[in-house]
């Protein structure tokens, strides 16, 4: 039986703005986690990561992050990803400020 693979997204920071971006299904980047492409297959994850990392004029520091699929949308698994999704907790800055 294949080893279980927890769902993942590809994420990075934007080269120009430096903010958090997520890879969408068409290999473009979105700033909204809900539009991120969820990868459920390990082999697919490797290919998507390599392809995303090749977009060096857009994205910096590309990596895979664990994600949870809930009926009301995608949820980050680790608190670090939650902070990246929202912004800092001391000011209403970053993504939470829209």
């Amino acid at each position: 039986m294949a080893r279980s693979f927890s769902p993942k997204i590809v994420t990075a920071n934007a080269l120009i703005e430096g903010d958090v971006i997520y890879l969408s299904a068409d290999d473009t980047w979105t700033r909204d986690l809900q539009f991120a492409d969820v990868i459920t297959d390990e082999a697919d994850a490797d290919v998507r990561l390599i392809s995303a990392a090749s977009q060096t004029s857009v994205a910096v520091g590309v990596y895979l992050a664990d994600i949870e699929i809930h009926p009301d949308g995608l949820k980050t698994k680790h608190f670090r990803e939650e902070f990246r999704k929202l912004g800092p907790s001391n000011y209403f800055h970053g993504k939470q400020a829209g």
Binding site: E17, D19, V60, F79, F83, G94
Partner: protein
């Protein structure tokens, strides 16, 4: 204050021009990120969790009003209206966009500032006692030596690819306010037989392997300063480990080889190097030194100060807590707290920076200092001007009377900003300060250094906090370890871990129990937390932190 000469100005302008071209090539795709990263780091540009971060050097923590105004302008124009002052006397802008950074660097150059030496494996921005040139207990202002080291080390060809970063701190007083024992090299001006020289300390550092520095030379003649530091760094440059970044700092080299062996190697290398220093460094120093002369102090009655001190209890509390004795008895050193209860430690809004700059210009001989404790200092304020300074600070949430108290917390940016962090620091600091303000206990508690780091790299100096807090990621949950008994001064010590960490929710009640135990245990109100800890040891404090364990132990 030191003014750039033509060489300095041309050097910074040339570097900025190079970086502008490098940014253009990165954006055009001509440079990959792997190629660009070391170039941007050489210019203080990091990529953090939510954005780029530009770390700007404030050499030996000294600024004038024009520079502070320009930092505020940068915060307003290219950032989100504030800056964060760090434990290395730098300022960080948390939200610049890549294409704007060359313009920011040019704006800094207009006021003789830059972001060089704030990153990379090189000799970093030299830090100094933030009360330098003003403190009553000072032997000599150490900043001219810091400036000499800055000029000598900037782009020093031998030291561009060191095993790791290298941090130097200088102090001119016996009382150490610059944490010199936790630096790669710590320098302290000392007197011997009527001569002034340096005590040279090596191999201190915090991070994952905290170490207190050891004395490498008890007395170094001042004229030997640069060849001796060069000898020390060159010995480490060869011996230092490049196979493991966690073992690469000089503290590990000193630990692995022993101070006697290192001393022998340094002295031998020093003998070789010393003749090549033909006096050019001393002429340069003679040129630098007058720039740090004391200001022309005014003479004026201090009656207004005394009246206000007697009649205004809020002013009196601020003076008692935030004003330090000056070399000139008619003057005071005013520390402006960037730790208003509930605010982010070390943050100043652009409006606050402008106000501080105006106060420095009007009342402070145009001098400002940044402290490693993340506060701002007006080093020279005539006592008769202190009431006006205080009244003005009150209008901008800058008059908090808490210097050296439990809410004067050092906190790194933690996981709210930092890509390396394992947990948040800022909200923890905010909660602690707010809670002890509510309890109205902090003046009763007295001197207490609480320091928080959001990861093992210890930017928040938790190892040398009387109470240290280290934020970690334990199985996907933020968890906070407490250390006790650390000390950043001349009696430096590394705090000892008390036991298992606390969740974010359990941390504050644990600290309240700890402080209640201290108030109960101290022999008299004057005995500080650290003194009580040293007298009694960790046991009664651990019992307060972990009451359920104490109960189990008693039952056994």
């Amino acid at each position: 204050m030191y003014k750039y000469n033509d060489f300095d100005a041309a050097f910074v302008a040339e570097r900025n021009k190079q970086f502008r071209a490098q940014v253009e090539r990165r954006i055009s795709g001509a440079l990959s990120e792997d190629e660009f990263k070391p170039l941007r780091l050489m210019n203080g540009l990091y990529l953090q969790l939510h954005a780029y971060m530009l770390r700007v050097a404030v050499p030996y923590g000294t600024l004038n009003s024009g520079q502070m105004h320009q930092l505020a302008n940068i915060a307003q124009r290219w950032d989100k209206g504030y800056g964060h002052f760090t434990t290395r006397q730098n300022i960080q802008f948390n939200w610049p966009q890549l294409p704007d950074v060359p313009d920011i660097l040019d704006a800094l150059a207009e006021v003789e500032m830059h972001a060089i030496k704030t990153s990379g494996n090189t000799v970093r921005n030299v830090t100094a006692d933030h009360l330098s040139g003003a403190a009553a207990d000072e032997l000599e202002d150490p900043r001219p030596y810091a400036e000499l080291i800055r000029q000598w080390s900037t782009d020093h060809p031998e030291f561009q690819f060191l095993p790791r970063k290298f941090k130097i701190a200088v102090s001119g007083s016996a009382h150490d306010r610059a944490v010199i024992r936790a630096h790669d090299i710590g320098l302290r001006l000392v007197e011997k037989n009527g001569d002034t020289g340096f005590e040279v300390i090596v191999g201190g550092g915090l991070g994952r392997t905290p170490m207190i520095g050891k004395i490498l030379r008890a007395f170094l003649p001042k004229a030997d300063l640069l060849p001796y530091i060069e000898a020390t760094i060159s010995v480490w440059n060869l011996l230092g480990r490049r196979d493991n970044k966690y073992k690469s700092r000089i503290k590990i080299t000193v630990h692995e080889h022993g101070i006697d062996e290192i001393s022998k190697l340094v002295e031998s290398r020093f003998k070789e190097l010393r003749p090549s220093f033909n006096g050019a460094d001393q002429s340069l120093f003679d040129h630098i030194k007058p720039a740090f002369a004391a200001p022309a102090y005014k003479q004026h009655s201090t009656e207004l100060f005394e009246q206000n001190y007697s009649n205004d209890p809020v002013f009196r509390a601020w003076v008692d807590t935030n004003v330090t004795a000056h070399q000139n008895a008619e003057y005071g050193i005013a520390t402006i707290s960037l730790k208003a209860h509930g605010q982010t430690p070390g943050d100043a809004s652009a409006e606050q920076m402008h106000l501080i700059a105006d106060l420095a210009k009007r009342y402070g001989h145009d001098e400002i200092r940044i402290s490693h404790e993340q506060n701002i200092v007006l080093p020279h304020v005539h006592k008769s001007d202190l009431p006006a300074v205080h009244a003005s600070l009150k209008t901008a949430q800058l008059a908090t009377a808490n210097i050296g108290l439990i809410s004067d917390i050092i906190a790194c940016p933690g996981m709210d900003y930092c890509a390396l962090a394992t947990a948040r620091s800022i909200p923890i600091a905010q909660q602690i300060a707010t809670r002890f303000d509510e309890l109205k206990l902090e003046h009763d508690i007295g001197e207490l250094k609480l320091k928080i780091s959001g990861c093992i790299n210890a930017c928040g100096h938790h190892h040398v906090g009387h109470i240290g807090i280290l934020g970690l990621d334990r199985a996907g949950v933020e968890n906070y370890q407490i250390t006790l008994g650390g000390d950043a001064t001349e009696t430096a010590a590394i705090g000892q871990r008390t036991g298992p960490g606390f969740s974010a929710d359990d941390l504050l009640p644990a600290l309240e129990r700890l402080i209640a135990a201290y108030l109960d245990l101290r022999s008299e109100p004057k005995e500080t937390f650290l003194q009580t800890y040293r007298r009694l040891g960790a046991t009664p404090f651990k019992a307060a932190l972990y009451p359920e364990r104490a109960v189990r132990a008693n039952a056994a």
